[in-house]
C-alpha cells in the first residue's frame, strides 16, 4: 500500500520535466518557419522591386529600396548600345523575436546588372 502511494504522480512529474523540452521544440519550429518566411518574403520583394518598383508592390514596399527596371507604368527604354546598367531592389525584413529577443534581421538585394 505504501509503495503504491510513493509511485503515485510519478508520470505527472516526468511529463512536467519533459514539457519544457517539448515546448522548446515547438518554439524552435515556429521560429525557424518565421525566419524562412521572412527570407522568402525578402527575396520576393527585392525581385519585384528590381523589376517593377512600387508599381507592383502597390505602395507597400516598406523596407524596400533601389532602382527599378520599371519607369512610370512601362519598362525603361533601353539605352542605345551596350552601355552599363544596374537595376536593383534591396529588401529587409525581420523575423519574429527568437529566444532572448534575437529576431533575425534579413536583408536581400536582387540585382539586374551589366557588370
Amino acid at each position: 500500500m505504501r509503495l503504491r502511494r510513493i509511485r503515485r504522480g510519478q508520470s505527472a512529474v516526468e511529463v512536467m520535466l519533459l514539457m519544457p523540452v517539448v515546448m522548446m521544440v515547438f518554439i524552435a519550429m515556429y521560429y525557424l518557419w518565421s525566419v524562412t518566411f521572412a527570407a522568402a518574403n525578402c527575396h520576393m520583394r527585392a525581385r519585384e522591386y528590381a523589376l517593377h518598383g512600387d508599381e507592383y508592390l502597390g505602395g507597400r514596399s516598406q523596407g524596400t529600396t533601389g532602382s527599378s527596371a520599371l519607369s512610370g507604368s512601362d519598362y525603361r527604354k533601353a539605352e542605345r548600345g551596350l552601355t552599363s546598367f544596374e537595376f536593383s531592389g534591396t529588401s529587409s525584413d525581420t523575423s519574429i523575436d527568437g529566444v532572448g529577443n534575437s529576431g533575425v534581421n534579413l536583408s536581400v538585394t536582387a540585382v539586374i546588372t551589366s557588370n
Binding site: 508520470s11 524552435a28 519550429m29 527570407a39 522568402a40 533601353a78 546598367f85 536583408s107
Partner: protein, 367 residues
C-alpha cells in the same frame, strides 16, 4: 510472501513509462522540426533560383534591347544619308550641260559619293548586329546577373545557346547584306533582317546637243535613275528575339543548413543533391529596327524626295511602311507564351532537361 511483493513488482514495471512515451514524441517532433526546416530551405532556395533565372534572363534581354536600339539608330543614319542624297539630286535638278548625253556627270558624281558614304554605314550596322557583338555580350551580362544574385550559379546557368532552335543559338539567325564597293555576305546575327537593295534615286538632266546651226542648242530632258543598297527591315513588328534562361543549383546540405554569416541564409549552389531548377523567358519589345507596321504611330522617318515628274516605273522599296522606332525595352515573358522564331520555350526546356538527364513534363511549367 510472493503475494505481498506483487504490488511492488507492478510499480517497478510502470516506472519510467511516461518518460519513454515522451521521448518517442520528442523524437517525432525533432524529425518534424528537421523536415519543416528542410522544406523551408528548399522553398526559399526555389524562390531564389527562380528569381535568379528571371533577373538573369531580363538582363540578357535588356542588353539585346540596347543592341536593337543601337541598330535602329544606325539604320536611321543610313536612311538619313539616302534622304540627303535624294534631296541633293532633286534640289539641283535639272542638271544642265551641253554634253549631249543621258546622264549628268555632276549628278552621277553625287550618286557615287552617296554610295561611298553608305558602305561604311552598312558595314557598321552589320558589325553591330553580328552575333558576337550583340548576343554574346548580352548573354555575358545575363551570366553576371545570375552570379550576382546567387553565388556559384554562373556555371550552372544556360541561355540555351547550344540548342538549335533557340533564338540565342549561333547561326539561328543570319543577316545578309550588300554594299556598293565593299562586297557583301552573310553573318550570324541577333535576328533575321532583310536589306533594301533597290532604293531608287533619280534626277532631271537637261542636256543640249549640237544642231545644224549651233554646237549646243537642241535640248533633251532625261530622268536618269539609279539604286542604292541601304537600310535593313523586317516584315513583322515583333522580332523573333527572346532569351530563355535556366539556372540550377542545390542547397549545401539536406538538413538544417542555416547560416547567418554576412546575411547569408539558406543554401549555396554547390554540394548536396537537392537539385533545384528554374526556367525563365524575357524578350525585347516595342521597338522597330526597320520598316514594319503600316500606319505605325511612332513612324517618323521620311526618306527624302524623288524627282517628279519622273518615270512612273520607280519602285519604292519598303518605304511606304517605314518605321524606325528606337523604343526597345525588355519584359519577362511566359514559358507558354507564343513567341516567334525557332522552337517554343517549353520545347527548349525539354531539350535542356534531356541534356541534364531530366525528363520534364512541360505541362507543369506555368511560369
Amino acid at each position: 510472501m510472493a503475494r505481498l511483493l506483487q504490488p511492488l513488482r507492478r510499480a517497478r514495471a510502470r516506472a519510467g513509462q511516461a518518460a519513454v512515451f515522451v521521448a518517442m514524441v520528442l523524437f517525432t517532433l525533432v524529425i518534424f522540426l528537421a523536415l519543416a526546416t528542410n522544406i523551408g530551405i528548399i522553398v526559399n532556395d526555389k524562390i531564389r533560383m527562380q528569381n535568379t533565372a528571371d533577373l538573369a534572363s531580363y538582363a540578357a534581354a535588356y542588353s539585346e534591347a540596347q543592341v536593337l536600339n543601337n541598330l535602329v539608330y544606325l539604320n536611321g543614319i543610313i536612311a538619313d544619308t539616302v534622304a540627303q542624297c535624294r534631296s541633293t539630286l532633286v534640289s539641283s535638278s535639272p542638271y544642265v550641260d551641253c554634253l549631249c548625253q543621258y546622264e549628268s556627270p555632276v549628278a552621277e558624281a553625287v550618286i557615287e559619293g552617296c554610295k561611298m558614304a553608305l558602305d561604311p554605314l552598312i558595314m557598321q550596322f552589320v558589325m553591330a548586329a553580328n552575333y558576337t557583338a550583340s548576343v554574346t555580350p548580352a548573354l555575358q551580362r545575363g551570366y553576371s546577373t545570375a552570379e550576382a544574385n546567387f553565388s556559384g550559379t554562373r556555371s550552372q546557368t544556360s541561355f540555351m545557346e547550344t540548342l538549335p532552335g533557340s533564338p540565342t543559338f549561333v547561326g539561328q539567325y543570319w543577316l545578309t547584306y550588300s554594299t556598293h564597293f565593299m562586297g557583301g555576305g552573310s553573318v550570324p546575327a541577333i535576328a533575321n533582317y532583310d536589306q533594301a537593295t533597290s532604293i531608287q534615286v533619280n534626277y532631271a538632266h537637261l542636256t543640249f546637243c549640237p544642231g545644224p546651226n549651233c554646237s549646243c542648242c537642241i535640248p533633251y530632258l532625261y530622268y536618269p535613275q539609279d539604286s542604292f543598297n541601304g537600310w535593313f527591315y523586317k516584315d513583322n513588328s515583333d522580332p523573333e528575339i527572346w532569351v530563355e534562361g535556366r539556372v540550377y543549383g542545390t542547397p549545401q546540405k539536406q538538413f538544417l543548413d542555416i547560416k547567418y554569416s554576412g546575411g547569408y541564409f539558406g543554401a549555396s549552389a554547390t554540394g548536396g543533391d537537392d537539385l533545384l531548377y528554374a526556367y525563365a523567358v524575357a524578350k525585347p519589345y516595342e521597338g522597330s529596327v526597320g520598316p514594319t507596321l503600316t500606319g505605325n504611330p511612332n513612324a517618323t522617318w521620311t526618306i527624302g524626295p524623288l524627282y517628279s515628274p519622273g518615270p512612273g516605273s520607280l519602285v519604292l522599296d519598303k518605304e511606304r511602311d517605314l518605321a524606325m522606332v528606337e523604343e526597345y525595352r525588355a519584359r519577362l515573358a511566359g514559358l507558354n507564351e507564343d513567341l516567334r522564331g525557332g522552337s517554343a520555350p517549353t520545347d527548349l526546356a525539354q531539350m535542356d532537361g534531356a541534356m541534364l538527364g531530366k525528363m520534364w513534363n512541360v505541362a507543369y511549367f506555368k511560369h
